[in-house]
């Protein structure tokens, strides 16, 4: 579906006409990200991150496929094959640093994309399906990133794999056999490394498939915008191309500069030094931490230290999974008809508290498991759950939203002649 004023694909070149009759793939692209997709005219830079996430996925797939040509997924040689890539493969160091930092920047972009959704209420009807598919993409990205981090077979790879697969051991009754079955052994070893490599190669293509569904679902209602009010007419929109291709192109440039600063000048700043030590099952690192992008969830996992009816470890595992799975229910937890935080004064305050809470969880997830960090993470975890499951539903019931503009046109230009027409018509009636 698209708006009735969307421009139609009309190939001029006879070859393109011929292609369009046989397989209208150019038409599909034209309608998806070309001039055939009308987009609200008031999108700000926060709406750049969807395109950037797609770019990161492509970047990771390209660098990853080439790295896989040189990497050997065998516990005996995985670490040295990574060093072989760094030392002997032409431009291997560039590929590996692009891929490793690419994962970090992918998550940075995903978080901005998700937080934009929180702020502007992008998850609300009629866009629930886009949101649900987005959460699926995020979960798949987490699984992919986790398994990718295991592949260099350094100390953090090994112990990270041991801790995370150990979580399944917390499940009552079936936990231990399940953990052994997942790992293919009692501890991470060659069997685990091989299956992680296989899945790490497969999942990005699954992600790409879900991304196509995500974009498909997006094109049915069309994009949201910072006012949160729906598109009413042509003057509310601009064609995606050239307006947003140009704007996103500039955003992509800024993103790439930041990314390249890390790749070329501080490529190991986001990693952990211990992962340059070869995996050693007999030597436990002083601090086992995942990559920075998992810190908030790791902090939630470690926050549960008290056996309240269930064992503390099981609470931690349940809470960690619940902390993301609850996003699936967000469209129905928040019943406020107003989407954008611009017109939701109370929700907006809690949004910023959530951001501060997440910043704290990011910090605490990477800290040593000692006081006062654990106590702080317990408070931050409590707020996290209260925010989404208690505060959001209650605020959406009691809040009095600010008046909304008549249309996107009015929000952008300050006036919309149709608004006065409607008012006159209403006055007459």
């Amino acid at each position: 579906m698209s708006f009735p004023w969307a421009s139609q694909y009309e190939p001029q070149n006879p070859l393109m006409k011929w292609v369009d009759e046989k397989l209208p793939l150019p038409r599909l692209v034209y309608n998806a990200v070309g001039a055939g997709y009308p987009v609200p005219r008031n999108l700000n830079y926060m709406y750049n991150f969807g395109v950037l996430a797609g770019f990161c996925l492509v970047l990771q797939i390209i660098t990853g496929v080439i790295l896989a040509m040189h990497y050997a997924p065998n516990a005996l040689v995985a670490f040295s094959s990574t060093e072989h890539i760094m030392r002997d493969v032409n431009w291997g160091w560039l590929l590996r640093y692009m891929h490793a930092n690419g994962a970090s920047f992918f998550f940075l972009v995903l978080y901005m994309h998700i937080f934009r959704g929180f702020y502007y209420g992008s998850y609300k009807a009629p866009r629930e399906m886009i949101w649900l598919l987005g959460v699926v993409i995020f979960l798949l990205c987490m699984a992919t990133a986790f398994m990718g981090y295991v592949l260099p077979w350094g100390q953090m790879s090994f112990w990270g794999a041991k801790v995370i697969t150990g979580l399944f051991g917390a499940i009552p009754l079936v936990g231990e056999p399940l953990q052994i079955w997942l790992l293919g052994g009692y501890a991470p070893d060659n069997a685990a490394l091989n299956r992680f490599f296989s899945l790490h190669f497969l999942l990005p293509f699954v992600i790409a498939g879900v991304v196509i569904l995500h974009i498909w679902a997006l094109h049915i209602p069309g994009s949201t915008n910072p006012t949160g009010i729906e598109v009413k007419k042509e003057s509310d929109t601009l064609p995606f191309h050239p307006y947003y291709t140009a704007k996103d192109g500039f955003g992509l440039g800024v993103f790439l500069i930041l990314y390249c600063l890390f790749v070329f000048f501080m490529p190991n700043a986001l990693g952990h030094p211990d992962n340059y030590i070869e995996a050693n099952p007999l030597s436990t690192p002083a601090l086992i931490v995942p990559e920075w992008y998992f810190y908030p969830f790791y902090a939630i996992l470690r926050a549960f230290t008290f056996d309240f009816i269930l064992p503390a470890k099981l609470w931690g595992v349940l809470a960690m999974f619940a902390s993301i799975l609850l996003w699936f229910f967000l469209p129905w937890l928040d019943k406020s008809p107003v989407r954008s935080s611009r017109y939701r004064p109370l929700y907006r305050k809690f949004f910023w508290v959530l951001m501060a809470d997440l910043a704290l969880l990011f910090y605490l997830g990477g800290a040593h498991a000692e006081e006062p960090y654990i106590m702080l993470s317990q408070l931050a975890t409590a707020y996290y759950f209260l925010h989404f499951l208690v505060i959001v539903p209650i605020v959406s019931s009691i809040e009095r939203p600010a008046p909304l503009p008549y249309s996107i046109t009015e929000a952008v230009l300050g006036k919309d002649d149709d608004a006065t027409l409607d008012a006159q018509a209403a006055a007459k009636a």
């Binding site: 030392r87 500039f250 790439l256 000048f265 926050a303 129905w332 317990q378 707020y383 499951l389």
Partner: protein
């Protein structure tokens, strides 16, 4: 229904987190807090100015060659360098012929299929640095990646090599005496006190003890500090031989991206010029 269920779930998780908090707080408030010597007296390495620091950094080949000599004559007694090949040494300024000679100074194990024995042979440029058998106390790590495998690794190597002290008389920078603060602190037999090492005692005795321990060919005075800096620089190179190439390439990338981003910005402004309301219109 979803909201009711959600509120209950949220209260349960938040409640259990808060119960954990209360239990943790009571335990934390009621128990005595014992500080450890490792926590109080562990020292972060001091910054050393290396030629390869910063975005414009370049290797100092003369220094790397001195560092190689320190590694060969001192470190290599216990530590291997398994990811580095002799041919790689061409990158620090040795000629092909020199590398052949340098490689031949090392004994590399070679499996002899006709006798079934592992024999040692003079190294070839294509060989990697040989494994080092070690039978003493402790576990000497391979040094190929050591500067990337420790926080602030290059400075750490220098600080560790120059940081040996006597625990009995050691005072930190604030003048606090270790023995007075922690009378029970002991360096076990066969271990050596060093405040830069995470648990303050390590199995490696100070390897560089006297000026002139290694004879430098270039006339540089071989003080302990100089030798430590040189070997730290050499190990920074072994950990990442492509560092200089990386930084140099980076400038091309960043330069191109700046140019492209400016063009993209101008294109964006140009395309939007017709539809963006001026501030005065919007008011």
């Amino acid at each position: 229904m979803i909201r009711l269920f959600g509120i209950l779930t949220g209260l349960v998780f938040a409640g259990v987190a808060l119960i954990s908090f209360v239990a943790g707080f009571i335990a934390w408030a009621s128990e005595e807090h014992v500080e450890t010597a490792e926590y109080v007296f562990h020292k972060a390495p001091e910054d050393v100015a290396f030629s390869f620091d910063g975005p414009l950094g370049k290797w100092d080949n003369v220094q790397l060659q001195r560092g190689y000599k320190v590694y060969k004559e001192v470190c290599a007694a216990c530590h291997s360098l398994k990811f580095v090949a002799f041919r790689d040494l061409q990158a620090i300024g040795y000629s092909e012929a020199q590398v052949k000679v340098l490689a031949a100074e090392w004994q590399v194990p070679e499996y002899n299929a006709s006798t079934g024995e592992v024999e040692t042979e003079a190294g070839l440029p294509t060989d990697n640095f040989p494994p080092v058998p070690y039978f003493g106390q402790g576990n000497p790590p391979d040094l190929s990646l050591i500067t990337k495998a420790r926080h602030d690794g290059t400075n750490y190597v220098h600080a560790l090599l120059t940081g040996y002290a006597d625990a009995a008389t050691y005072k930190n920078d604030e003048g606090v005496s270790l023995k007075e603060e922690f009378p029970d602190f002991e360096t076990p037999p066969g271990a050596y006190f060093n405040p830069y090492f995470p648990n303050l005692n390590l199995s490696m005795a100070a390897p560089l003890t006297a000026a002139g321990q290694v004879t430098y060919d270039d006339g540089t005075e071989a003080t302990v500090d100089q030798m430590s800096q040189d070997v730290a620089a050499f190990l920074a190179w072994t950990a990442e031989p492509k560092m200089q190439e990386r930084k140099k390439t980076g400038w091309w990338f960043i330069g191109f991206l700046f140019f492209a981003t400016i063009l993209a910005y101008l294109a964006y402004k140009n395309i939007w010029a017709g539809v963006k309301p001026k501030k005065s219109e919007a008011d």
